[in-house]
Symmetry: D2
Subunit: 360 residues, 4 copies
């Protein structure tokens, strides 16, 4: 079958004919690829920059792809819920089998670091015509959101981060006087798909959301901000517009982007670190440390997501598609064929929010 | 009566004869001072360095002192639990009355910042012969720990921080395979009274504790470390001794002290920021941010404590006095008279862990 | 204006012309009634059976109605979010102002019992042409669910109960091996609107749901069960079909309905008590108590809901309307005029799931 | 060696010479028995009343005993903390190895029920001269409480129950206005060792405690109640003395003992079920169900304890021994030799709180 293949740590990507023999075992299904999304991690691997990427055992190549939508083609014995024709999104990370979090289905909190991740490290990904997987790693997609369900995986990580936030903030009373979060303010640094998902989710929870970038909004960004009732702020020109805040979400990974904003943080506020990048640095002072202490501030890194987060993500996709119409479908800024994939994997198309490869 | 008086923002401290008229109202008691402890905040005020310190309304001076032990002398109407002769420790912070946390007795999480603090800002402290206070701000001291109960206030803040930690870490499974914390490692940066309390508490919870300073242990520090089963590490010479860690507690406030240690942080680990200082700076890189993200690391500032934390602190004092003998009493490195207080308030005696003023 | 009026503790209900002078104050809006739902509580008041129902101060009558949908007609000064034309659902209970839960917007956990409830006790309800209310008690309705939003209030109470359940079950690991709830089973006792909402919500969370009644399913019940993938069980004939369960939700209030089911409860399972009724009794044995102890079983009564629960309820209505089509609109089994209201308030129409009064 | 042997389901108990070959493996230690306590479960087995009791595989007898204190005699390879001479208390329950709670060291929440319990079901107990156990099931005893540490096991179950309570009550604000629990009232039904432990723990947390029995206090009960500041109430004569309550703890298992008290339960209150008994019954009404619903009442069964709970239990023993002097040692109402054990196992000595067998 056709697959999109990389050979980390080498640069490069190609569409190749591969032979992967996978039989459908007990509790497993065969899935035909429908769409796969492209993200920064894929491009990092393609460009030979992600040192942690490696092929599965016994292979000298890695099939790329971890943002996927597929359709069930064949159902093995012992499968409980899935039927032929069901649309599914596979979970990316598979646990180490040893640590307590992996033992209870929370490999997103794997403690050993010995997990594998489809299309990233140690396991073939989903950019291929078909694959076999265990039912327990597959999330069923409700029909109403099949067209945008390829966005589920990146969004699931946002759901995990916000669930984590809401849990840790129960250390005190963080809700407003009317029990809602409508008195709360959030800054979201970065306007890619992840930033957009954070903005959507925080608005739905009732937060007053400021979307931050160091440039003007593009027309699509402007459209989305208006549609969901958020405020786009060009931090180069308008940072005086920013009020004190209860939450900063950084999706950039750039310390010099979020550190200056921290002086706006209120008592009991939180900073979610979600973005990663290379080669940046910034200075912090003991005054900033004092602020974090005196204000009971929490900073939380968050990565990956559990299957439960995928399920919640799909619920939000249903709400937003219904409520905001084309906001989500507009996030898919281009849909390319398998043959065109290497080109868009090597370099980001202009104006991209999310580029998607169509398989069937 | 005699009181230890400051006039922030001016430098200086003196023992003065003051007249504070306080009648014992409903729900109140009159307290005679027994001991008061001295900490860095007191010295910061005395040396004119804490810009946030100010006298109570209608006063041009502030009575210092927030670490106190007193004895009930007179009991007002409507007092429920306290009797004449009871020993008590007063809570320092009094809430803003407006935010939701202050409304439920958690002024340690005050959101407005409009709280007052006895001996620090807007309210006379406890370095005076006697004072009147509401029963609800007074924590009864069990008889077995009266001699060391002056340590309750500083320690209460440590209890709050660790309670906060244990709560936020329920975001995943953080206990060991046998449900204890005995597989967990902690670094405690700083060896003052706060660092010592963190070390004691974490040992009692089962953590393997490394006490860190950039010098050799003093004989008292060595004694305490051995008694409680912790390891003292001189980070200048022996940092290669340090294993990967699940927790770093910084009591120094110096970013260059704790940032280099963060490379030792394990998945799901936490950094508690507790120390504050002025004029320090350090660099952070996007690689550190990536580590925080990829490992689900949490960083938590913590300040102050609730009355419930004071009560738990007293329970731990009982345990430790019984279990470790003189470890706690040795922390009181000198006991001075009221007349000697200004001198030890201006500058720290050599070898001090905690200096205490004796009132009665 | 026209209003539906009761005079508890007397029986009876009538449409009357009433004069209620309400000016739109700061932070308030005037609302025109669109729909009001009828529930068992309303009929209890109308039939003189609810001893706790009483008119507002200075009135000798009570305007009925607590399940409402309205449209904003006039917006007062200081209103932040609502605009003319917005659809809203009002919160029913208003706090005592004294206990800590009421102070933080959780009057659904009022500790004193001195709350008032619109249309039930001490406050006029929403079965009238228009009313004035504070913005903070109004929940904005997304456009896509205006037609079914009259269901929000009863459903909000279900959302609170399930949120409570998910919180208390964090006392241990209750999720499945894949982090979802798909290995969990729930029995829902009762097939009225509340039972249907529990079934929908538990299915959405992944539970295998058994809907229980002591008779066959009606055609609508059959339709709903099939649509959402739940199993209807006639407990008179088919109780042997029931597997061991992780959750029982009782919406009947009848002890003899849920107690016999408790022998099916698994370790760590929960029983939610939600229904209330009069005049029933049943026997329990020490063997049942032993089961509760040995299996760490939890039983939780749940009443009312916070504004946050109303907001989540509206999100679920969006999901379900989109996902299940007419399941929710079919729950509104009849829509009557104001003039017809007294009749349907006195006695339940045959085949009713929810009867709604149309105002505008 | 000598051991106390039963042959369930047969009645009877005897001191026998048994040969149990146990080598000290990796991570294991050999323990010499110091004391073992006797509880109702032991007597239930001895009297042939506990149907769930059975011998280990390949044995036709069961060595009794689950409340134990031992001293380490021999230390195997790979043991990390324990040394020869250390005093230890073994954990009773050993997990099923399959369910998620057992996998993370919380076999007290075992979901399958396929656990084994030393001295009760499927595993030899500790009423023998020596035994070998894994370090991970052994809790180290601080020196200051060796004399009363045989009480650790029964008390650990109380610690688990109260930890569970404090967790589930975070569903709302349950602390008092000053953050403590001093405004809270608890009834403890039953005055055996378990009831006494609940009373001690709840007093230490700040609750106003009423100890309930349907007779006068014995002199020891009177002494304990006075010492800890609790009120003993004879429910036959003085139940009008009882105020509304925030918590009822039942240690009797008798429904007719705790159900009538439930009318005293306040909003948001809790009932902990801890006691088990046979052959009792009582009636409940739909009015009681309504109270549970309308007041958000929670009822929680609790059984067994985790190793962490044992560790906390030992901390409390230290506090109380120091604070209350002989209250705990008085709970050990008689200390018998191994030879006398069968007699006190067959029937309860008069005035018993806790009977202990001395081994060495």
């Amino acid at each position: 079958m056709k697959a999109i293949v990389v050979r980390p740590p080498n640069k490069g990507v190609s569409v190749e004919e591969v032979e992967i023999k996978e039989r459908v075992g007990v509790g497993q299904v065969r899935i035909k690829s429908v769409m796969t999304g492209i993200c920064g991690t894929d491009r990092g691997i393609v460009n030979g920059k992600l040192s942690f990427s490696y092929p599965p055992k016994d292979y000298n190549f890695l099939i790329l792809g971890h943002e996927a939508l597929g359709r069930v083609e064949e159902v093995g014995e012992g499968v409980k819920e899935l039927k032929k024709g069901d649309y599914v999104v596979p979970v990316v990370r598979r646990g180490c089998g040893v640590c307590l979090n992996c033992k209870i289905g929370r490999q997103d909190f794997c403690e050993t670091g010995n997990f594998i991740e489809a299309g990233i490290r140690g396991k073939h990904g989903f950019m291929r015509e078909e694959y076999v997987d265990d039912e327990k790693y597959l999330v069923k997609v409700p029909e109403e959101v099949v067209d945008i369900a390829v966005l589920t995986e990146p969004f699931s990580n946002v759901v995990k981060a916000i669930n984590g936030l809401l849990f840790v903030q129960r250390r005190m009373v963080w809700n407003c006087e009317d029990s809602s979060f409508e008195c709360r303010t959030a800054f979201v640094v970065g306007t890619g798909p992840i930033g957009t998902f954070f903005s959507l989710l925080l608005r739905t929870l009732g937060f007053d959301v400021y979307i931050l970038n160091k440039r003007d909004a593009s027309p699509t960004e402007e459209y989305i901000a208006e549609k969901i009732g958020a405020t786009f702020v060009d931090t180069e020109k308008e940072s005086d517009k920013l009020p004190p805040t209860d939450l900063i979400v950084d999706t950039s990974g750039v310390p010099s982007a979020f550190i200056p904003l921290m002086k706006k943080m209120k008592h009991n506020s939180a900073l979610i670190l979600f973005g990663t990048i290379e080669g940046e640095r910034a200075e912090i002072t003991s005054d900033l440390v004092t602020e974090i202490v005196e204000k009971n501030i929490i900073i939380m890194g968050s990565v990956n997501a559990s299957k439960r987060d995928f399920q919640e993500a799909l619920n939000y996709l249903s709400i937003w598609k219904y409520r905001y119409g084309d906001v989500l479908s507009r996030m898919i800024t281009s849909m390319v064929s398998v043959e065109e994939a290497p080109k868009v994997l090597m370099s980001k198309p202009k104006g991209e929010i999310k580029t998607v490869i169509k398989w069937a």
